[in-house]
Each structure stands twice: as structure tokens, then as C-alpha cells.
């Protein structure tokens, strides 16, 4: 029996209808709002967004953060999966521990890292006990933008690497060990086996992990807000500020549209960069 041509559409239909009802309708309303200005439809709100004090910084910060954190997380997740593969005993406990950050909300994660990085936090306590600093030192202010960025990067890395890791582990588990063993027989080093055998087989998984993570990274801001305060605006935090503090729903909608477009563009780039090459089957 061959699958009928209709079957894939039947399979995706429920999810499509569901998302259409729940998401697309309010989405269209919101996008319409972005073009709605007091003087009739137009680009006035977009002009206000672009002219906003924090706009350029928010755009730069968003990109800097995503471009730094996502590749790092992918590399870490791949490394962790490979380590796990070679582990003999206690695998499920190690896997459990490594996936714990999955269960931690971004609000809680912001709290954790603030407690560590703040003036009288745990990091400074360690530095103080080691004699590296004579008194509490501020790391998270506008006077130390480099360290502030690093702090946010570390916190985001800690919080969200587990998501990439779980996806990669699920993919790694499906690679038959025979492939690697065969390569091993031909004298390939561990690195060569990883580079030439495992990595190509993992490509669809990596694609998914990257898209998931990139889309989420463009949307996350609770950690950024907790650690960066007013000093590290990102696009989504600006959207929220315009919606709930400045109460200008139209400019907020513009920011939301921009975030969506940026995520979409990132998704396309990832899809193109990791597409199956001619002649390859997966």
C-alpha cells in the first residue's frame, strides 16, 4: 500500500486549524494595529519605533546576544552529547542533571544569576576570599558594558543550553553505532569520526535545534531584564515596555512585528545553510 497524496495534508490539518484559530486571528489584528496611527493607517508607529532612544541599542544587543549564545550552545550541546555517549555508568542520572535547567523558568534563572553576579553576590565572595578584590565590585552597570554582556551571556547559556542538548541527544541516539565502528575500523580518529560521520548524520537534528533555539533566543528577555536592568535593552523588552509601561499598543505591535521578521529571517538562514546538499538523502 502506498501513502495517498492526501495523507500528509490530513496529518498536518489539525495543527494548522488549531494555530489558525488560536494564533493567526489575534496576530493579524495585532499587525493591523502596527499600521494604525492616530491620523489613519500609515508607518507613523514604525517611525516612532526607529526614532526611539533605545531602538539602535536594542537591535544591536539582540543580535549580539543571539549570535554569540546560540553557536556556543550548539557546540556545548554537541560536546555534552558525545561525552554522554562514552559514559559507561550512571548515564540516566547524568542526563537528568544536565537537563535540569530545562525545568527552570527564565524568571527563576534571572534571579539565580543576579544572586551570583550582583555586588555582594557569590562571584564577588569567591573573588574576595581569593584576595582578587578588596571590596564588593560592581559588574552589572552601564560603566562595565563588556562584563555586563558577558554576565547575560553566561546566564542565558546556563538557562537554555539544555533545550539544545535534549534535541541533540534525541538525534544522536538514532545514529546506528555501526557507522562509527566501521569508520573506526578504517582507522579514523575520534575527531574524524565525529566530523565525518556523526555530524553529517545529525544535520536535520542540528537544524531543528538551531531554529528552536534561535526563535526562543529572540523572544527571551526575563533573564536579560533581571541582570541588565535598564542598561541592556533588547527588542522584546522594548516591545513589552511600549505595551505595558508606555501603553502605546501600536508601537509595541511594531516591535513585535520586527522581532517576528528577524526570527523568520534567522530561520530561513538556518534552513538554507543546513539544507541537504544535492545527491544526499537523509
Amino acid at each position: 500500500m502506498q501513502p495517498s497524496a492526501l495523507r500528509p495534508y490530513l496529518l498536518i490539518a489539525p495543527s494548522l486549524v488549531f494555530l489558525l484559530l488560536l494564533f493567526v486571528v489575534p496576530l493579524v489584528q495585532t499587525v493591523a494595529l502596527a499600521f494604525d496611527t492616530p491620523s489613519g493607517p500609515g508607518l507613523g508607529s514604525f517611525a516612532r519605533m526607529v526614532g526611539d532612544l533605545d531602538f539602535a541599542d536594542a537591535l544591536r544587543n539582540t543580535f549580539a546576544l543571539v549570535l554569540c549564545v546560540v553557536p556556543l550552545q550548539l557546540a556545548a550541546a554537541l560536546g555534552m552529547s558525545m561525552m554522554l555517549r562514552h559514559l559507561r555508568g550512571g548515564r540516566d542520572i547524568v542526563l537528568w542533571i544536565w537537563t535540569i535547567p530545562l525545568g527552570i523558568s527564565d524568571l527563576a534563572a534571572g534571579l539565580v544569576w543576579l544572586a551570583i553576579l550582583t555586588d555582594k553576590g557569590y562571584l564577588n565572595t569567591v573573588l574576595f576570599e581569593l584576595g582578587a578584590i578588596p571590596a564588593p565590585q560592581s559588574w552589572l552597570t552601564y560603566e562595565t558594558p563588556g562584563v555586563l554582556f558577558l554576565g547575560i551571556l553566561i546566564a542565558e547559556f546556563w538557562r537554555a543550553t539544555a533545550i539544545v542538548f535534549v534535541v541533540i541527544v534525541a538525534g544522536v541516539q538514532l545514529i546506528p553505532q555501526e557507522y562509527e565502528e566501521a569508520a573506526s575500523v578504517f582507522g579514523a580518529t575520534a575527531w574524524q569520526r565525529f566530523r565525518r560521520v556523526t555530524l553529517p548524520l545529525l544535520r536535520p537534528t542540528i537544524q531543528t535545534a538551531l531554529i528552536l533555539r534561535a526563535v526562543l533566543a529572540f523572544e527571551a528577555f526575563a533573564v536579560v531584564l533581571a541582570i541588565g536592568g535598564r542598561n541592556f535593552p533588547v527588542l522584546v523588552s522594548q516591545a513589552f515596555a511600549w505595551q505595558y509601561q508606555n501603553q502605546n499598543y501600536s508601537v509595541a505591535a511594531c516591535y513585535a512585528v520586527l522581532v517576528t521578521l528577524v526570527s523568520l529571517a534567522a530561520t530561513l538562514v538556518i534552513l538554507l545553510a543546513l539544507r541537504p546538499r544535492a545527491g544526499e538523502t537523509v
Binding site: 550582583t118 560592581s138 560603566e143 536592568g229 509601561q245
Partner: protein, 423 residues
């Protein structure tokens, strides 16, 4: 596995049963008294003697307009809303006028000025004043040795405050002056109600006057001695308790934990004065009844109860929010509360006191109005842009907001015909 599932479903059913039991209570949604302990006290102390069972639900301010919209679409859950003046103002269209209960204002001795605010620029009483507060200064006693010669806390000026912070920095190597300039801090109120009136005698009209230029230059100099973490602080009680900050300005309720937990370590005192006086601003919390209230009659009974002198005192003890009705403060208040009450009193009765009203008539533009002050601060102080240019630019933006809202000037600016104009 199936045993676990069964347990889960049982748990779910119990949960549903537990929630169904609360359906007949009057829903009182409040954006104030949110923190854990205060919410508990609101239930167990403030609302203990309420005339009906009340379901007291604290809620984040951003969610309030959404819940009201949902109620208008037919959800009809909320009977009474408690929120700040600034949060209620944009939502005036959602509330029913309380003119029938306006008699309470005079009967319980609510001050004329507060009553007028509650009309939200209309002829109707749009909400009932519930409790009030203000912003004051707090200092750790450790900072006292650095107070400049001849300065006293009660008569402090902004120039002396700057000197004080500088002295403390020289002596301790730390910048110990702090402001709540974080994303949800109330820094905009500092500029609107404290700094600008103290230097220029007004808020809107004098926004880009030469006095305002002087003020920003002075504040920029003062900021050099302010803790750079200030742009992360939302509540000053935390850095005060941790000792990162020794001198701070904030809302009394956002300082309360410092005074509650360590009343012996901290002093409360009035905000500093500038060349034009000692600017200060009230905080007003009101209760309003949505047009869609399922139990409007119950809500008005509850309003009456909340405005009784005993309830107002219970509210003060629970929350550090002061009564809006005429009532003598009891003598047995806790120490920290007494300290704050005294500072509030001193601030109001200072010979150079310059009260500034909350913005009136800005409606849904309240947020954008606040943003102008914070943006101005960021541009001038944090980004070092030329003062004149920034003020010209932001004044234009302010005029746009005022025109859009058609908001007339409010005190201490002189009354205006039509929208208030920046000079």
C-alpha cells in the same frame, strides 16, 4: 504507571472542586498590596471584617486593562478594582461613576485635593480614594558622619545631598547614594514631582527653562556620586538592606522592608529642597467599580467598609499606605512605620513645601508622559548629550503627548485653557 495516573486525575478533580467553592465571593482585584506578606495581611487583617466574603486577588498592573477588556466582552468577573491613580486614569471609560457615594468624601473627611483627583478631570467621581503614600528619603545611620557641615536631614537641599554623597564616596570609596532608576522603578516621579518643581517651580511649562538646564547640570554632577547599579534598582529597600546603598529616595511602600526589618539602622527624612522649594508628590490609590461588575451593590458596601477609620488604620499597619480619611494615627504603631510617618509629616508641613499633583487628564498617555522624563535623564546623564538639545527635543515630544491628551496644566503649573503648553 496507571496507579500514578489515577492519583493525578484524583488530584485534578480535588483541585477543580476547591476552585468551584470560591465562585460566589466578591472579586476584588488589586495592583497594590501585591507582595506575599501584604497580600496575606490584606486578606487576614484589612478584609477580615468585610461585609461579605471577598476574594482578594493581587495582580500585576499590566494585566489590569486586559482583564477589564475581557470583562467588557462578557467575562464579568471583577466587582472592585484597587489601583494607583495613574493606573486608573487611562481606564476611566471602564468604570461606573460613584457619584451616589460621593457623600462619603465629606463625611469621612477626605481632603478636597484628593477628592478632585478622583474625578479624573470629569464632573463625576470615577474612583473612591482608598489610601495614599508619598516618596521620601531614607538613610543608613552609617552615612550620617559624612553629612556636610551645617546640614540637617530635615532641611536638606539638593546641593547638600550632592556634597553628602561626595563626602561619603571619598571616605568609603563606595558610591552610596541610590535611586530607583531600574525598568520598573519609579524614577519618573522623582523628576516630575521632586527635582523639576524644586528647581523650576513647575513641571510642564518650565520643562526647558534656563532653570531646568541648571537643574540637569546639577543632577548630572550629583549622579557622579550615585551608585551605578541605580539603573538596575526597582525597589530601594533591597540595596539599603544589603548595604550597597546608604542614602536613597523612593516610595514609602518600597522602603518599608528596610524600616520594618532594621528600624534601628535607618532614618527617614523629607526629600531635599531646591531653589524654588521642597517639591514632593503624593501617591494616591483608589478603588473603582467596573461597569461590568457582577456585584456592584456589594462593591459599594465594600468601599464603605474600606473607608472606615478602623479599616484605614488596619491598612496602614499592613501596608505602610496612609489613610485618606480623617483619623488620628494610633500611638502604638511599629517603630519603622512611625519613622516613615514622621518624615511624611515633616515633608508636608515644611515651610518651603511645594506639593506637586499627580498628572491629571493624561488618560492613556500617562505612560508616554513618564517615558519623556526617563528618556531625558538617560540622554543627559547617562549618554552625555548636550542638555539644551535634549530638552528641546523632548519638549517637542511632550507637547505632542499633551496635545493628543488635551490635558490642561496641573499644579504647580498655572492653570491653562486647552492643552498645557511647554514654554
Amino acid at each position: 504507571m496507571s496507579g500514578r495516573l489515577t492519583m493525578l486525575w484524583c488530584a485534578l478533580l480535588v483541585g477543580l472542586a476547591a476552585t468551584a467553592a470560591r465562585a460566589d465571593e466578591l472579586v476584588f482585584l488589586s495592583t497594590q498590596l501585591r507582595p506575599l506578606e501584604e497580600a496575606q495581611k490584606a486578606r487576614t487583617q484589612i478584609l477580615k471584617g468585610a461585609p461579605m466574603p471577598v476574594s482578594y486577588l493581587p495582580e500585576e498592573p499590566p494585566q489590569l486593562p486586559i482583564h477589564l477588556q475581557a470583562d467588557e466582552q462578557g467575562a464579568r468577573t471583577i466587582s472592585l478594582v484597587g489601583a494607583l491613580h495613574g493606573e486608573l486614569a487611562p481606564l476611566a471609560a471602564s468604570f461606573q461613576p460613584l457619584d451616589q457615594q460621593a457623600g462619603l468624601l465629606a463625611q469621612r473627611g477626605v481632603p478636597e485635593q484628593i477628592a478632585r483627583l478622583a474625578h479624573l478631570g470629569t464632573d463625576h467621581l470615577m474612583y473612591m480614594p482608598w489610601m495614599q503614600a508619598t516618596y521620601i528619603m531614607a538613610a543608613n545611620k552609617k552615612a550620617l558622619p559624612y553629612l556636610p557641615q551645617g546640614a540637617t536631614l530635615e532641611t536638606l537641599t539638593y546641593a547638600q545631598l550632592a556634597q553628602w554623597a561626595e563626602n561619603a564616596e571619598k571616605a568609603t570609596g563606595q558610591r552610596v547614594l541610590g535611586f530607583p532608576a531600574g525598568p520598573t522603578g519609579l524614577m519618573a516621579r522623582f523628576f516630575q514631582g521632586y527635582l523639576l518643581p524644586s528647581y523650576t517651580g513647575g513641571v510642564v511649562v518650565s520643562f526647558r527653562s534656563p532653570e531646568a538646564v541648571t537643574m540637569w547640570e546639577a543632577f548630572k554632577a550629583l549622579w557622579k556620586h550615585a551608585n551605578p547599579n541605580s539603573t538596575n534598582y526597582n525597589f530601594m529597600q533591597e540595596p539599603l538592606l544589603s548595604g550597597d546603598v546608604l542614602i536613597a529616595w523612593d516610595h514609602v511602600a518600597r522602603l518599608q522592608n528596610a524600616f520594618r526589618n532594621k528600624p534601628d539602622d535607618f532614618l527617614a527624612f523629607p526629600a531635599p529642597a531646591g531653589p524654588k522649594g521642597r517639591g514632593f508628590m503624593p501617591v494616591l490609590v483608589g478603588v473603582a467599580v467596573p461597569k461590568t461588575a457582577p456585584d456592584a451593590a456589594g462593591a459599594s458596601k465594600l468601599i464603605d467598609y474600606l473607608l472606615q477609620p478602623e479599616t484605614q488604620i488596619a491598612t496602614l499597619r499592613a501596608s505602610f499606605f496612609f489613610p485618606v480619611v480623617k483619623v488620628a494615627l494610633p500611638t502604638d504603631l511599629e517603630v519603622g512605620l512611625k519613622l516613615e510617618a514622621q518624615a511624611v509629616q515633616q515633608q508636608q508641613t515644611a515651610p518651603d513645601a511645594l506639593p506637586t499633583l499627580l498628572p491629571v487628564g493624561l488618560g492613556s498617555h500617562n505612560g508616554e508622559f513618564d517615558k519623556i522624563f526617563v528618556d531625558t535623564f538617560q540622554r543627559i546623564v547617562l549618554r552625555d548629550q548636550p542638555v539644551q538639545d535634549v530638552l528641546a527635543r523632548e519638549a517637542e515630544d511632550m507637547q505632542r503627548v499633551l496635545n493628543a491628551a488635551q490635558a490642561p496644566c496641573w499644579s504647580p503649573d498655572p492653570p491653562s485653557q486647552g492643552a498645557c503648553q511647554v514654554k
